[in-house]
Every structure is written in structure tokens, then in C-alpha cells.
């Protein structure tokens, strides 16, 4: 009887694409999803390693190639295999996946800044009419130079189009189940990602932003990724956020934490004035 491991190995060998006639040499499989399989391959022309995705259509490669942004993995090449399947080669991103990044317990400010950088390519894609539809920790990579990349655009679709159901449970907006998607679909997933990146000790406004972004009703969410990231940036800059109504004490405390020097100067002035008053009186 063959073990599961051996069976998986055999299945991998059988499924391995025939790269005959291409400039690539297969190294190993690194990921498998509903939309295709990703391998590490060696580009024999340029002598470098690339990520090679094997799939059934070139639509994904075309979508990805239309999105030139530092936060989106660039496509190098695309073509057909002898068996008719399609492939595209992209930059092999070396780094840490978002789930491993979170496990390393970065500071709250680092986590939130990383989140803002996840929003950038998504907002850019939206400006080009493309929705990712499968934002989750496994699809975000922190590169070795600190760059944040949004991966796997296999489920991406055009804005406002009725698409086939795609996404990952837990990160998928409720309306996605009906195949309805717009910018707020990704806002929902980003809200879930922010929730994932947050810890219970994070400030209330951050949790409120995550909750607003991942509201069940699309109308209750931020209308765009830009609105979401601006609200979070406001929090990072020590300003109030639209998702959270703070009490007077919280407002004063926020002002104090952002203006410590001024508060000390004013307090010293008041104390000196009070001291002079009592000194003159007595």
C-alpha cells in the first residue's frame, strides 16, 4: 500500500507540465489553487528563477499584465504548452507571507502601515476597473526589501460584472456568493484582513475601521479602498477616524499623545502663573 506522501509525489510527477519547447526548466511546485498551479522554474535564456503559473486561459495573465504597479507581481512572459495548456511567467517573489509576518508579532504601527500598503495595489486595480475577489493572508507577500505584494489575481474580475462565484470563505463578501462584485467586495476582504492583522489590544478606532470595512451590508462599508486607507492613515497620523465616534476623554487623550511638548509647555506656564499668584498672595 502506498502512503499519501508517495501518492502526492506520484500525482505531482504526472501533473508536472511538459515545458518542452519553452525557455523554462521546471524546478518544483510551490502552490496549487482552483485557478492553476504555480511552479518555480529556471529561465534558461536569462539564467534566473521565475514563478510559472499553469492554467487553462490567458485571461489572468492579461489582467495581471495590465496592472503595472510596484505592489503587483510583474508578468515576464506568457505562452502555450505542448498539451495546449497556457502558462505565464512572473517575478519569483522571495519573502514572507502575511500569515507568517503576523506570526512574527510586528508592532501595531508596522502592521497598520503594512495594511495600508496592501490597500495601494488594490486601489490601483480598482482604478483600472479590476477587482481582486480573493484577498486573504496567503495572497499577500512581504518581499525581502520590505515591499508588499498582492498575489494571485486568478479570481480577479471586472468591476460591476456578474461573475462566477470565487473567493475564500472567511474573506469573501456575502454578495460574492451571488456573483455580485464591485469595489466594496474587496473592501470587505480588506476589512477581514485588517481584523486578521489586529490584536485585541489594538486601539478601538482600528477595530472600528475593520468592522466598518467588513460590514455584512455593502452599503455600510467604505465606498472605496481609498476611503478605507484614508481613515486608517488618519488614525496613524493621530487624527480622528470616521468609523469611530470618540468620547471627550478619548479626544483629549489623543490630542495629548500627539502634542506632548505643547501640553508640557502649557502646563508649566499654568503652574508658574499659579505659583506666582500664591507667592504674591502670601
Amino acid at each position: 500500500m502506498l502512503s499519501d506522501r508517495v501518492l502526492d509525489r506520484l500525482r505531482g510527477v504526472i501533473d508536472a507540465p511538459d515545458l518542452e519547447g519553452t525557455r523554462y526548466e521546471l524546478i518544483e511546485e510551490v502552490g496549487r489553487g482552483g485557478m492553476g498551479v504555480v511552479y518555480i522554474a529556471h529561465d534558461m535564456v536569462l539564467g534566473r528563477r521565475v514563478a510559472l503559473k499553469i492554467l487553462n486561459s490567458t485571461a489572468e495573465a492579461c489582467t495581471l499584465a495590465s496592472l503595472e504597479h510596484p505592489g503587483i507581481v510583474p508578468v515576464h512572459d506568457a505562452g502555450s504548452l505542448p498539451d495546449g495548456r497556457r502558462y505565464y511567467a512572473m517575478k519569483l517573489v522571495q519573502g514572507t507571507r502575511l500569515d507568517n509576518y503576523r506570526a512574527a508579532r510586528p508592532s501595531a504601527a508596522d502592521r497598520l502601515r503594512t495594511f495600508l500598503r496592501i490597500c495601494e495595489p488594490v486601489a490601483f486595480a480598482h482604478s483600472r476597473g479590476v477587482i481582486h475577489r480573493d484577498l486573504k493572508p496567503e495572497n499577500v507577500m512581504i518581499g525581502e526589501f520590505g515591499e508588499v505584494l498582492v498575489l494571485d489575481w486568478g479570481a480577479a474580475g471586472r468591476m460591476d460584472a456578474v461573475e462566477t462565484v470565487a473567493g475564500t470563505a472567511g474573506y469573501m463578501a456575502p454578495e460574492q456568493l451571488a456573483g455580485i462584485t464591485d469595489a466594496r467586495t474587496d473592501v470587505y476582504s480588506l476589512g477581514k484582513l485588517l481584523e486578521y492583522l489586529s490584536v485585541p489590544t489594538d486601539a478601538k478606532p482600528v477595530r472600528a475601521i475593520a468592522a466598518k470595512a467588513s460590514s455584512t451590508g455593502a452599503a455600510l462599508r467604505y465606498a472605496s479602498v481609498l476611503e478605507l486607507s484614508e481613515d486608517l492613515a488618519s488614525f496613524l497620523d493621530g487624527r480622528s477616524v470616521s468609523a469611530y465616534r470618540e468620547s471627550l476623554v478619548e479626544r483629549a487623550s489623543r490630542w495629548l499623545s500627539g502634542n506632548k511638548t505643547l501640553a508640557v509647555l502649557i502646563l508649566t506656564y499654568v503652574l508658574i502663573r499659579a505659583a506666582i499668584f500664591f507667592f504674591v498672595r502670601h
Binding site: 511638548t261 505643547l262 509647555l265 502649557i266 508649566t268 506656564y269 508658574i272 502663573r273 506666582i276 499668584f277 504674591v280
Partner: protein, 118 residues
């Protein structure tokens, strides 16, 4: 608003408020109008100087220090003038005056000057 103008306005407001605190000292209360006018004038001069410094030097600690020094110097000039009673109120005038200068120094450094376009 540029930094010297911002410094001038803030210096005038804080100078006036600082002068108004003389009301809490009964001995000088009858001269409060003169004190407020003098204090506002001092604030205006200090504010313009501190604002000009903030325009030239971008440093919060140096801005505060410069404000403190200017505030202290101008307050010294006022404190050195003899009162009708012949008394001098060096500490009473110089300490708060220096701090008001430091506050204006802080604010002018933090104030972002919008440059006209075109």
C-alpha cells in the same frame, strides 16, 4: 499663512492673554489696560522674530529654545522698567514671558506654511 504672520498673530493673542493674567494680582490691577497693551506689543514683536526664525531654521528644539530666549529677553526689558512703586517684578514677568515665547516657538515650527503656487 506664512510663519512670521502666524507668529505675529499667535504672539499677539498669547501676549494679550498673558497680560490679562495681571488681573489676578490686585496690586497691579489698576494698570491692567497698560499691561495688556504692553504685553500684546511684546507678543507681536516676539512672534514676528520667532516666526522669521522658524522660516529660516526647521528644528523644533531650536525653535522652542529661540522662542524661550526672545520671550525672556523682551520680558526682561519690560521687567527692568521701574514700576510706580519702585519695585521690579523680574520673576513674575520673565518666567511666564519666556514660556509664552517657547509656546510660540513650538507652534511656528509645527505650523505648515503653504507656499503660493505659480
Amino acid at each position: 499663512m506664512n510663519k512670521p504672520v502666524f507668529g505675529l498673530l499667535l504672539g499677539a493673542v498669547l501676549g494679550a492673554l498673558d497680560g490679562l493674567t495681571a488681573w489676578f494680582t490686585p496690586e497691579v490691577r489698576p494698570q491692567i489696560i497698560g499691561i495688556v497693551i504692553g504685553s500684546t506689543f511684546k507678543g507681536v514683536i516676539a512672534g514676528v522674530c520667532i516666526g522669521w526664525f522658524a522660516k529660516k531654521v526647521k528644528s523644533l528644539p531650536l525653535g522652542i529654545l529661540f522662542g524661550l530666549a526672545v520671550g525672556m529677553f523682551l520680558a526682561y526689558l519690560i521687567a527692568a522698567m521701574p514700576q510706580p512703586s519702585g519695585k521690579h517684578y523680574y520673576f513674575e514677568i520673565m518666567l511666564p514671558g519666556s514660556l509664552v515665547g517657547a509656546i510660540v516657538g513650538y507652534a511656528t515650527q509645527k505650523h505648515s506654511q503653504v507656499m503660493p503656487s505659480g
